[in-house]
């Protein structure tokens, strides 16, 4: 049993109306990979913010190497050897790797020395990085390496990682795990936040599970099944989604050899995309973030116009139509970014219901809005999809991520579409909300709609998809039946990490 590096004792933190952390105690040992598990809103981020000095506990204490530890600022935490890799990167696209690393350091050395150290550290830990490349050109996995290397340069004693694998291919996950194990073997403790249970079972020595701000258990994850862990996390028995038996119908949506330039200078242009989607089919599209997923959704929703004939709905050309034109014909979409794209943050849920449903649900007549009807529709969505909120007058930004996602997906499903395109439908959503959303999509397919799901989480994708394709640098692989595909094969379809195996072997 290694000596505890850090002890948490009775940490409690309340925010107005919610007790985010309630009397949480556990130890993190030196060289231990310790998982922190929990649904959204379980209190993981608050806990980590206390350790990292972003939030001060109301009561309770921490010790580091047996000495009291109460960081008032992240600077203080960093000086004490605590480093953190956030889920959302704080990198500047227009600067190169070394410059980005320097920006996050307390006393950066001259850039030339720093570049040399970045190269050394990244090779030592099998995370190849070229310090002179612009961050805007890097893949999500490479960006994460920038963040990790930035932390490693400060010789951390405790490395906190928040959902690190959500942006990685299976091969990249393998590389990351090898790096983390190497770090642990050298004595660095790792606090690993995730809700991917299989990962935690492969990687972690110990897991602390939070639910509703309280600690439910600390256990050895390798001795539990994924299902047991999930049930501890959710506090209820989980049932896998039901798939209504259904026959594939005619082709509803068809895209032919479509190439489209991205409207964003750091975006990915679509290259020669072709596929068919049948009625009742769930087509899963995998790929590492930034390989054209956003552009694919924009092109299908009508926000990016395509040549008239290259997108067809039941044989009818729709490429030239905008979002409302396509909604009118039965194509709806739910973009990845909930706040700001799928919903307007400072508008009420009623207004957000109107956003995409105005015409199809006849919430307006001759341009005049029927607010009563819009509010009733918002209420419908809230009830049917179990959106936890005081009512439809609440601003979208006041909802938690999972609840807003239920609202946004629910809104599109209620439009009774022929084709629905969803990007990352359950991203950052807790397990029970994710199950609701998956089930709703499957039900929709059961009723004869074509469903296209863009998702990075392969387990989830394989759970719902009938057929499967992957996006890689804006190209779409041929569509294959999902049955019988192995995760390894899928990883190869997603591509892009073969060279890193070599780097890793060279480093070891």
């Amino acid at each position: 049993m290694p000596a505890p590096l850090m002890q948490l004792d009775g940490l409690t933190k309340s925010y107005p109306g919610v007790r985010a952390n309630d009397d949480i105690s556990f130890n993190i040992g030196e060289g231990q990979i310790h998982a922190l598990l929990g649904e959204n809103g379980a209190g993981k981020s608050t806990l980590v913010k206390m350790i990292y000095g972003l939030v001060r506990p109301d009561s309770g204490a921490m010790t580091l190497y047996g000495a009291p530890f109460a960081p008032a600022q992240p600077t203080e935490a960093r000086l004490n050897g605590i480093a953190m890799v956030f889920q959302h990167f704080s990198l500047f696209d227009a600067l190169d790797v070394a410059e980005n690393v320097a920006l996050g350091m307390e006393n950066p050395p001259p850039l030339r020395d720093l570049a040399r150290r970045i190269r050394t550290v990244s090779e030592e830990y099998g995370l190849p990085l070229d310090p002179t490349r612009l961050v805007g050109e890097l893949s999500a996995g490479e960006r994460q390496r920038v963040e990790i290397v930035r932390c490693l340069l400060q010789d951390p004693r405790l490395l906190i990682m928040d959902e690190p694998t959500s942006v990685l291919t299976p091969q990249e996950v393998g590389i990351l795990f090898r790096t983390l194990r190497k770090l642990a073997s050298e004595g660095t403790a790792i606090l690993y936040i995730s809700h991917k249970l299989e990962e935690i079972r492969t990687l972690c020595d110990e897991a602390t599970i939070l639910r509703g701000g309280r600690k439910v258990a600390t256990c050895d994850p390798r001795e539990k099944t994924a299902r047991e862990l999930a049930e501890l996390m959710v506090g209820q028995i989980l049932t896998p989604p039901e798939r209504p038996a259904r026959a594939m119908g005619d082709v509803v949506l068809e895209v032919d050899n479509l190439s489209l330039k991205s409207s964003n200078p750091f975006g990915t242009s679509l290259k020669d995309i072709s596929f068919q989607l049948r009625a009742g089919e769930v087509l899963g599209i995998a790929g590492v973030a930034g390989n054209g997923q956003d552009e694919l959704l924009l092109m299908l929703s009508g926000e990016l116009r395509a040549p008239r004939n290259q997108v067809r709905l039941r044989g009818k050309p729709v490429g030239h139509l905008g979002p409302n034109g396509r909604r009118g014909l039965g194509v709806v979409a739910a973009p990845e970014e909930r706040l700001g794209h799928a919903a307007a943050p400072d508008m009420s849920l009623t207004e957000n219901a109107l956003l995409s449903a105005a015409r199809r649900k006849r919430l307006e007549r001759g341009g005049f809005i029927d607010w009563g009807k819009a509010e009733a529709f918002a209420r419908d969505i809230i009830t049917r999809f179990d959106v936890r909120t005081p009512g439809p007058h609440v601003l979208a930004r006041a909802l938690s991520g999972g609840n807003l996602q239920k609202f946004v997906i629910g809104r599109e499903i209620e439009l009774d579409p022929d084709v629905i395109i969803v990007n990352q439908p359950t991203w950052g959503v807790d397990a029970s909300a994710a199950a609701t959303i998956r089930q709703a999509l499957l039900d929709l397919a059961g009723k004869g709609a074509g469903v296209l799901v863009i998702r990075q989480d392969l387990d989830e994708l394989l759970e719902v998809a009938d057929s499967f394709a992957a996006l890689n640098e804006g190209r779409l692989t041929p569509v294959r039946p999902a049955k019988g595909l192995s995760v390894e094969e899928i990883g190869l379809m997603m591509g892009g990490s073969g060279d890193m195996h070599v780097a890793h072997e060279a480093a070891e």
Partner: protein, 361 residues
């Protein structure tokens, strides 16, 4: 140390209180300015805000002036506010106002001396068209070449002023009085005269138009999809595109609407209170209306209140020039301060200012 904290939700109390606070702060700072100019600050403030309405000496003259000064401010501000809500910044209403006046007066002068009921309606259409076309220049440049509408619309004000001067001295000059710059007096041309509808009230067609514009804007912003799209585009441009709003179309509509309303204001002014096309015809309504729009919280009803307040400063400014020999620019400084204080105060609608004791590592 002073720390700024973003509020979870904008503070409604400050949103409503700030315009009033800004007026008070402007009175204080303005009073200091007047004191520095060697005038009695209390008397000056009283002359600007109080005497135009309640003084026995000037009241009968200045009360009707209030509607005359306020109507164009409201008419222009209502149009600007719609654009501002959509993050479309038309700063050139003054130019659109001038072009509306020139188009309206041009129709009248072309018909002179024929009398007919149809002349005034035609002038109204021409006035709106003039402002609309002038606003289409920044609109089309923005949608086609992605130019900045703030710069283009603002610079076009100076172009419009040159055209106004050229018209007053050239094409539109009164042929019966070639020695003087300026056109015929439209108040003496019955079919073109925007006369008072009720004597000695200042109530002319422009006031009616302003009232109609306020009602229409209110309905549009609260009940119509167009108003919804305007707010959506201003608050969340990507969500607006998802909702099927075409940004280019919105730029054309917002600039066109504001331009047409400013043009109308110019036309009602030139055919009524202004009377003729003169070099000094434009007195800054187009710029003051920006202050009116913000002070009125971009809300049609608020704009009515703010319009009256700023209209009052116009009259009070004239009075203080006359009675206290204050420089004419001082009232513009006064109006500028009002916007300055409002924007500064608005910071606390979205942020909380915290004093904390620095406990730094």
């Amino acid at each position: 140390m002073i720390r700024l904290e973003k509020r979870k939700e904008p503070s409604q109390i400050w949103r409503i209180a700030n315009p009033f606070l800004a007026v008070v702060l402007t009175m204080i700072a303005g009073g200091m300015m007047f004191a520095a100019l060697g005038k009695d600050p209390v008397a000056a403030i009283r002359l600007i805000f109080f005497d135009p309405l309640f003084s026995e000496q000037f009241g009968s003259y200045s009360r009707p002036q209030l509607l005359i000064k306020t109507a164009p401010l409201i008419l222009i501000a209502v149009g600007l506010a719609i654009g501002f809500k959509a993050n479309i910044w038309n700063i050139g209403a003054e130019g659109q106002y001038i072009m509306g006046a020139l188009f309206g007066a041009g129709v009248a002068l072309a018909f002179y001396p024929i009398e007919g009921w149809y002349i005034f309606p035609l002038m109204i259409l021409a006035g709106a068209l003039g402002g609309f076309l002038w606003a289409m220049i920044p609109a089309i440049l923005k949608t086609r070449f992605n130019t900045n509408e703030i710069l283009v619309s603002l610079l076009l004000v100076y172009v419009a002023e040159r055209i106004l001067a050229a018209m007053a001295l050239g094409l539109m000059r009164n042929p019966d009085q070639p020695g003087f710059p300026g056109s015929r007096d439209l108040r003496r041309y019955e079919s073109a005269h925007n006369a008072e509808l009720i004597a000695n009230t200042g109530l002319h067609w422009g006031v009616v138009a302003a009232l109609i514009a306020v009602i229409f804007a209110y309905i549009m912003m609260t009940r119509h999809m167009l108003g919804f799209h305007v707010q959506l585009a201003g608050q969340a441009p990507r969500a607006a595109r998802f909702g099927g709003v075409s940004p280019a179309r919105l730029v054309i509509i917002c600039l066109g609407l504001a331009g047409a309303l400013a043009g109308l204001a110019g036309m009602f002014e030139v055919s009524g209170p202004g009377g003729q096309v003169r070099i000094e015809f434009a007195t800054g309504y187009g710029f003051t209306a920006i202050i009116v729009a913000f002070l009125g919280r971009l809300n049609p009803i608020g704009i009515v209140l703010a319009g009256f307040l700023l209209g009052l400063t116009y009259i009070g400014g004239e009075l203080s020039q006359m009675m206290l020999q204050l420089p004419s620019a001082s009232i513009q400084v006064f109006q500028g301060m009002l916007l300055f204080f409002l924007l500064a105060l608005d910071f606390q609608t979205n942020y909380r200012i915290r004093l904390t004791q620095g406990a730094r590592a």
